[in-house]
């Protein structure tokens, strides 16, 4: 294919601004699929999912428009996956930035736009939903042109729902987005921008050929990891899998690698040929490291093997998910899992519960800490219970947070950010009404309930996104919760010292309400090391008798006692104290889970 006739582009947008609807319209308009087929295709893939537990999703669809080959490359669309997003963008020369004409620019619009700019993409701004009565195309066009430069008139206005204005978008892709300019004769180099796992065919890599070409049955090599393989099939999505003999510079397609381990081929790596290898890989490969950690425990301890199996299956399609066995005195056997961010955690948890039918207890999430010990050693701590008592210094991850709100809520947002140890960076008016605030915040402050707080304090108007910005020392302490004098490992938290007291008191109070009275007083304490910072007592019950028991009552009363004892068996034992699982759940729930975006 003549590269001048190829255009590679993505659609980027804030959630619900209409990315998938526009993609659907483009597929229809280019006759890649008919309306009817589109529905069937969706159904087909669900069936496939049911049968095999996985899907091969079309990550890049090739369509034809006015003599050109357009490759529409999908992006994960969320900051937790910003590394993947940026790899997808790296595979393109341009992007359609879709903005809801009624909502205006949101935090993810910005995050995505910046990523596109970083990757030198030509951005074609598109206002969507202009058919809505509350749409403000003129105002939004001005916002967008402020953001990107250029005239408001260059901003396209469409309704993806009705199809109005979509054809000019495709024309603009051809006119405004540059053609690829790879060297067809150079040693082959292809960027892996995404991958998928098929249980029969192994890892399927989605690639963008930059230079040279690949053909089937040619020995290939992933440059960063050194993995070699011979693709069983190469092809493109149209949108079904269409095998081809070769993929050449500028083209986008897939490689069925036959590899049985997703870890051996990572997104961002460069693939070249074994016979005529490129001298240098494409820039940008890095290993993504999980930043948010939480313990996952099955509520029924005998579901542990099922949880392990489920995690193994998820991991096949999700190289970023980490898990290692964890044993908690209070919660039994489970896994400490590492996630890219809160959304990633939510997704994994939801999939485990929904697709694998597991009931889970999830501990309050924490971030990855870098600890310098007194001996000068450095270690990374993923579990509060493992934080050494004696240490030189603890570094915690920071983020650069972008919050966009109507101007009336600026005060509330600033207040929240200040409470969470945020450092104000700057503020910008996107329009007369809407303000963008940039703060630096410790990620640890975000993972608890920041997002819920932000939503509730701005009546749902705030949009929020973040980027990791590095590690910094923090005055952090580990707060342990003790029940009956025994530490409950699963409830330990790492907190800034100024928040330790309040949080400790809150947790202790909640637990007191949740732990049923026992035959003895149960002290509940929050402690930093050996120093108790909050204390409550569950008073011993004073009476627990079966009121009367005569000849006619004996069997029933016996069964009552048996039931009483069986009820206790479902409780978790902390020392000699019986704690119902719901108590942990209540404490963890109120604190954990950042909520979805």
């Amino acid at each position: 294919m003549d590269q001048s006739k190829i255009r590679n582009f993505s659609i980027i947008a804030h959630i619900d601004h209409g990315k998938s609807t526009l993609a659907d319209r483009i597929l229809e308009l280019t006759h890649a699929v008919s309306k009817r087929e589109m529905r069937e295709q969706v159904l087909d893939s669900m069936e496939l999912e049911r049968e095999r537990g996985i899907t091969i999703k079309a990550q890049a669809v090739r369509v034809q428009w006015k003599g050109h080959e357009l490759n529409l490359i999908d992006t994960p669309g969320h900051v937790d996956f910003s590394y993947e997003v940026s790899r997808s963008l790296q595979a393109c020369e341009g992007a359609l930035l879709v903005v809801d004409a009624a909502q205006g620019i949101e935090a993810q619009t910005l995050a995505n736009a910046y990523l596109a700019i970083e990757n030198d993409l030509e951005i074609v701004p598109v206002l969507n939903k202009i058919d809505l009565p509350q749409a403000d195309p003129e105002g939004t066009a001005i916002e967008v042109s402020h953001l990107l430069g250029g005239a408001p008139e260059q901003v396209l206005a469409i309704s993806a729902k009705t199809g109005q204005g979509v054809e000019p978008v495709l024309d603009a892709v051809i006119e405004r987005i540059p053609a690829p300019t790879g060297d067809l004769d150079a040693p082959a180099r292809a960027l892996v921008f995404d991958s998928s796992y098929d249980q029969y065919r192994g890892v399927v890599a989605f690639v963008r050929m930059i230079d040279g070409s690949f053909s089937r049955r040619q020995a290939l090599k992933a440059m960063a990891l050194g993995t070699e393989f011979e693709p069983e099939e190469i092809g493109f999505f149209g949108p079904g899998m269409r095998p081809v003999e070769t993929l050449g510079a500028g083209e986008v397609g897939y490689l069925v690698t036959g590899l049985k381990d997703v870890a051996r081929l990572r997104v961002g790596d460069t693939i070249t040929t074994v016979a005529g290898p490129a001298s240098a890989p494409l820039p940008g490969y890095k290993e993504v490291k999980p930043m948010v950690f939480a313990g996952l425990f099955p509520t029924e301890s005998d579901a542990y093997p099922e949880l392990r199996e489920a995690l193994e299956k998820l991991k096949l399609n999700d190289a970023a998910l980490l898990y290692e066995p964890e044993t908690s005195q209070a919660l039994g056997f489970g896994f400490r899992c590492g996630f890219l961010g809160l959304l990633h955690m939510e997704i994994v948890r939801e999939r485990l519960e929904r697709e694998f039918d597991l009931d889970l207890l999830v501990t309050a999430p924490n971030v990855a800490y870098r600890v310098k010990t007194l001996g000068g050693a450095e270690l990374e701590v993923h579990n509060p219970a493992e934080m050494p008592d004696e240490r030189e210094e603890v570094l915690e991850p920071y983020i650069k947070a972008t919050v966009i709100v109507p101007k009336d809520f600026v005060g509330s947002v600033m207040e929240l950010c200040n409470e969470r140890r945020g450092r104000f960076d700057h503020m910008e008016y996107l329009s007369e009404q809407r303000v963008m605030l940039i703060y630096e915040l410790p990620l640890g402050e975000i993972v608890l309930d920041f997002y819920d707080q932000l939503k509730s304090r701005t009546r749902g108007y705030a949009s929020f996104d973040y980027d990791l910005s590095g590690f910094r020392p923090g005055e952090l302490v580990r707060v342990d919760i003790l029940v009956g004098g025994e530490p409950v490992d699963a409830l330990s938290l790492i907190l800034h010292k100024d928040r330790a007291y309040d949080t400790g008191r809150l947790l202790v109070e909640r637990l007191r309400k949740e732990i049923p009275r026992q035959m003895f007083d149960v002290p509940i304490q929050a402690a930093i090391g050996s120093r108790v910072i909050a204390r409550e007592t569950v008073k011993a019950k004073r009476k627990d008798v079966l009121a009367k028991c005569y000849g006619g009552d004996i069997s029933r009363k016996r069964k009552l006692l048996e039931k009483q004892k069986k009820g206790k068996k479902r409780m978790k034992q902390v020392g000699s104290v019986e704690v119902p699982q719901e108590a942990f759940l209540a404490v963890l729930k109120l604190d954990g889970g950042g909520g979805k975006k």
Partner: protein
Amino acid sequence: MSGARHLYVHIPFCVSRCDYCDFVSLTGQRDQQARYVEVLLAELELERELLAPELDSVYLGGGTPTLLEAAALRCLLDGLPAAAELTVEANPETVTPELAGALVEAGVNRVSLGAQSFQPRLLELLGRRAGPDDVRRAFRLLREAGMENISLDLLYGIPGQSRRDLNADLGAALTLAPEHLSCYELEAKSGTRFAHEHGAELAAQSEALEDHLEHVVERLTGSGYRWYETANFARGEPGRDLRSFHNLGYWRGHDYLGIGIGAVSTLSGCRWKNAPSLPHYLEALERKARPPRETEALDEATKLRERVMLGLRLDEPVEIAEVEAALDRDALARLSDLGLVLVEGGMLTLSSRGRMLGGAVSAELIVWDAEPVLAGT
């Protein structure tokens, strides 16, 4: 087997049903009384061989046994075997000089009088027909007729009952100097109208009323009563043991025969309960057949569990060797560390606080899911 030494006779008739009651009771149907007494005696005849030649106790419970017409009551009492203790339950409003005399004359030597409370508004709330003065009058009439062993039933934890109300009730009961007192916390048993109407209220006050039992125990033991069972108190009197021997039979795990609708029997590892339906009961026994029954086989392990559960309600020790297989050794050690269980010389008793927590302590102490212990041969 030497046979049961305890006989329970159930008289289901009541003038009206108390809202909190979950015993088998029938209102109206006065015309059935004579027939009922007749078939009761027929059931007794059928089961006679299960009884020991000499009985320790006969207990007429209800319902309201004293609601029986004089002739029917007389006929019943005449037909029952002799026993060292013959108790009849009575509702205060049914006690007349004639009835009191008839009871004494028929050999009844213990009456259990359902006082429940001495506060008119609480009695009304319970749906009781008798007022406080009826209780006092009934008590006096029984005494005048020569009844020397009278027990009063009291309820606490009635919705709206204050500590002051409880004190007044205890005071009023003590003034009468009964030989025996039974004090029950009101349970809103599911299915009763009472549970439906007051369940939430009772649950709400349950924690606040937690120390009522403690208070009852302190007050009564302070007045010379022996707290011999979780809910029962016997006046201490030199030379007389005023505990209920019939009920001690249950708590000591003895066999007992129960006759009448809804009555339960436990004999030689088998427990059965007569169906609560009067027509079925009458019909079966009139053709000299056993009434429909639900039976439950008690294996050795279950018997031992019950032995622990019931035995620990008493202030008498339970012999550890006898119930060893039903005891959770770890729990025993734990509860003994907490000072709830006392182990001495191979005997097991509960401390005073242990008795207040008797339900929880027994639940904990008993091994519930062990393999059944093989019966000794």
